[in-house]
């Protein structure tokens, strides 16, 4: 029955589904496989599987999400079985992808340079886990509920982790603001 009246509504359904869940699923797979190409293949495969799954569009949202994550985890496992090379994400590479130079982005010009210089140093000095949560939140735009399965943590743990990380960074900004912006390094605690 699902097959017969495949319609644009269904296309819209998959577009919506993709928009809601692909960012998190991709983040998860990329973190596991450490290969962007492999991650893209796997996530594509997951959504194609959903496209073939009879009655998928009639599942309620919760079931759809659970289904997507289960399939994704299975595909990642399959991938490792096939490729027999298990890598973990080179997370220490993350900090290097940050903008080093303010000139790279014109938008930065109105921002206080010293604070952001502080921020960049501080980000690189953060524990890997905190860097990861920042990347997922600010780079990939994921919310805590979406970050939780990526990091394999509870939502509460993710909230606390993100909260603590932000608090640490806030102190850098607070001290830079209070004590004048000449006082470099003060807020850089870790």
């Amino acid at each position: 029955m699902q097959h017969k009246d495949r319609t644009l509504l269904e296309d819209a359904f998959y577009a919506g589904l993709y928009q809601r869940h692909a960012p998190g699923l991709f983040a998860f797979v990329y973190r596991q496989t450490a290969s962007r190409e492999d991650a893209e293949d796997i996530v594509l495969d997951v959504f194609l599987t959903a496209l073939q799954q009879q009655g998928f569009t009639t599942f309620d949202e919760q079931k759809q999400v659970a289904w997507l994550w289960t399939i994704t985890r299975n595909k990642v496992v399959d991938h490792f079985r096939r490729s027999a090379r298990q890598q973990h994400v080179p997370i220490d590479r993350l900090a290097d992808t940050l903008y080093e130079d303010d000139e790279l982005s014109p938008e930065r010009k109105h921002l206080k340079r010293e604070e952001s210089a502080h921020l960049h140093r501080a980000l690189k000095a953060l524990p890997v886990e905190q860097q990861e949560v920042l990347q997922l939140r600010f780079g990939y735009g994921l919310r805590c509920t979406e970050i939780a399965p990526v990091l394999d943590k509870s939502e509460g743990a993710v909230r606390m982790l993100l909260y603590r990380t932000i608090q640490t960074l806030r102190q850098i900004y607070a001290s830079a603001g209070k004590e004048g912006r000449t006082n470099q390094g003060k807020g850089e605690k870790r």
Binding site: A12, A15, L51, Q167
Partner: protein, 466 residues
């Protein structure tokens, strides 16, 4: 500076770290802005990956529906020639490389032998279904070519003489949020004198289901609508305050075939709406603040393109299909229209400001007059802007704004429906008359979806959070 320690808590951390939360003290919001900035390279890489995956997925989907291509009505073919001329040209195929991304040839599709049988089986049935839909559509559009007495209602919107004022009450509306315009149908394709939708598909929306919002942030507005007099409305359009989310009865969605955008909603039982009919409808109404919209770049400046529907993706991506459809322009449009649009938007710092300049230009330099005689064979916008003695009514204002925006590479469309009507405080009800029939302009902002604008003078501007 006060320490808003209590503002940050693990529970509210999602909201507080939203890109445009905008309620934090300066220092905190700078930190958040800096963090987004710092992770921009990640965001872009992530976006490009998501775009590549979606392109490949869309390719497979398209292969599963080969009949869609062949069934498109002739009128839509020029969409891909003229309409794509600047911004979206490099992305006219779903699988084409995304500008600014890695060189990626169209991916060979994964082999999935199981599906080919399925595809063949479903193909035949689907072709029949689509033929039937097209047939119904043709019959409907033939039967009600102009939607009755109102020029602003129907399956197309023709720019001609003024509307016939109709003082009958058409609807009574109880709204969870006062003063909403009521949209009937939106139009994609402009041929120089009328608006239409060239590639429409229909879908059933059961009373228990909800459409997907094409933008965010949005909030739901609930309206209870009672039909008093179905004045000239031949099709059973369900009206709503924005993109309709759900209706308390089964309905048929009219969707733009290429973008999936919701154009209109029809009541299912086939009967015209009649006196005494009532329904409850919920609509997605944009909550976007002006500052948010000002942060959205023109499609030409957007770093990469992602599939439609905004949502949680970084709010600077445009769906190529949306650009193809909503940057369409008639062939041989008077070059003065572009020149005028460029002149008007001079000095604008962002897309939102450009659009606002267009809006105020029309509001301030033209007079609302429903006694209009467009000479036969004239392109309406050119005539209105340069030869119409600076007079026109809503259809002309809405069309001029949409066409000028499209000339500037800004996705735009025209919506017809009704203004909010007049509020009867005693009954706590909005009273909508036939003479409240109206047309206005919507501009598409990446991530935020379709945003209302009011180019007609003497109508109130849309209010937005600042």
């Amino acid at each position: 500076m006060k320490e808003p320690e209590q503002n940050f808590s693990p529970e509210s951390i999602d909201q507080l770290t939203e890109r445009f939360f905008g309620q934090l003290p300066a220092q905190e919001s700078r930190l958040i802005a800096d963090l987004y900035q710092a992770y921009t390279p990640d965001a872009e890489e992530h976006g490009r990956s998501l775009q590549r995956i979606w392109s490949r997925f869309a390719q497979v989907q398209e292969q599963q529906m080969p009949f869609l291509e062949g069934q498109r009505e002739p009128g839509s073919t020029h969409l891909s020639s003229k309409g794509t001329r600047d911004v979206s040209a490099p992305t006219s195929h779903p699988g084409a490389p995304v500008p600014g991304s890695f060189q990626q040839p169209p991916q060979p599709l994964p082999r999935r032998p199981r599906r080919s049988l399925w595809r063949r089986l479903s193909g035949g049935v689907a072709v029949a279904v689509v033929l039937l839909i097209v047939l119904i559509w043709v019959l409907l559009t033939q039967a009600f070519p102009k939607g009755g007495t109102q020029t602003t209602l129907g399956a197309s919107l023709t720019l001609d003489g003024g509307p016939h004022p109709d003082q009958h009450i058409v609807f009574l509306v109880k709204s969870s949020e006062g003063g909403q315009y009521l949209a009937t149908i939106s139009f994609e394709t402009y041929d120089g004198h009328s608006w239409s939708n060239t590639a429409v598909s229909r879908s059933q929306l059961p009373a228990t289901k909800r459409t997907i919002s094409e933008g965010s942030p949005v909030h739901l507005v609930t309206q209870q609508i009672t039909v008093v007099n179905s004045s000239g409305e031949q099709q059973p359009y369900i009206i709503g305050a924005g993109q309709i989310a759900d209706v308390d009865q089964p309905t048929t969605l009219l969707l733009d075939k290429t973008t999936g955008s919701l154009l209109a909603v029809l009541r299912n039982n086939g009967q015209p709406l009649a006196t005494g009919d009532h329904y409850t409808v919920q609509s997605y109404v944009s909550s976007a603040a002006i500052t948010m919209l000002q942060s959205i770049p023109l499609p030409a400046d957007a770093p990469t393109l992602l599939p439609s529907y905004g949502g949680p993706l970084p709010p600077t991506y445009y769906n190529p299909a949306t650009l193809r459809a909503y940057l369409q322009l008639p062939k041989n449009l008077d070059p003065r229209v572009l020149a005028k649009a460029e002149q008007v938007m001079a000095g604008a710092k962002n897309m939102y400001d450009m659009v606002e300049y267009l809006e105020s230009y029309l509001r301030n330099n033209f007079t609302y007059d429903s006694n209009i005689n467009l000479p036969v064979g004239q392109e309406a916008v050119s005539w209105f802007l340069f030869n119409g003695a600076n007079r026109g009514f809503c259809n002309y204002f809405a069309t001029a704004m949409a066409v000028m925006a499209r000339e500037l590479g800004i996705p735009a469309r025209v919506v017809v429906g009704y203004t909010s009507g007049t509020f009867d405080a005693k009954a706590q009800t909005w009273v909508v008359h036939g003479s409240d029939a109206h047309a206005w302009t919507q501009i598409y902002f990446a991530g935020y979806g379709w945003i209302n604008f009011e180019p007609s003078p003497s109508f109130a501007l849309f209010t937005r959070p600042l």
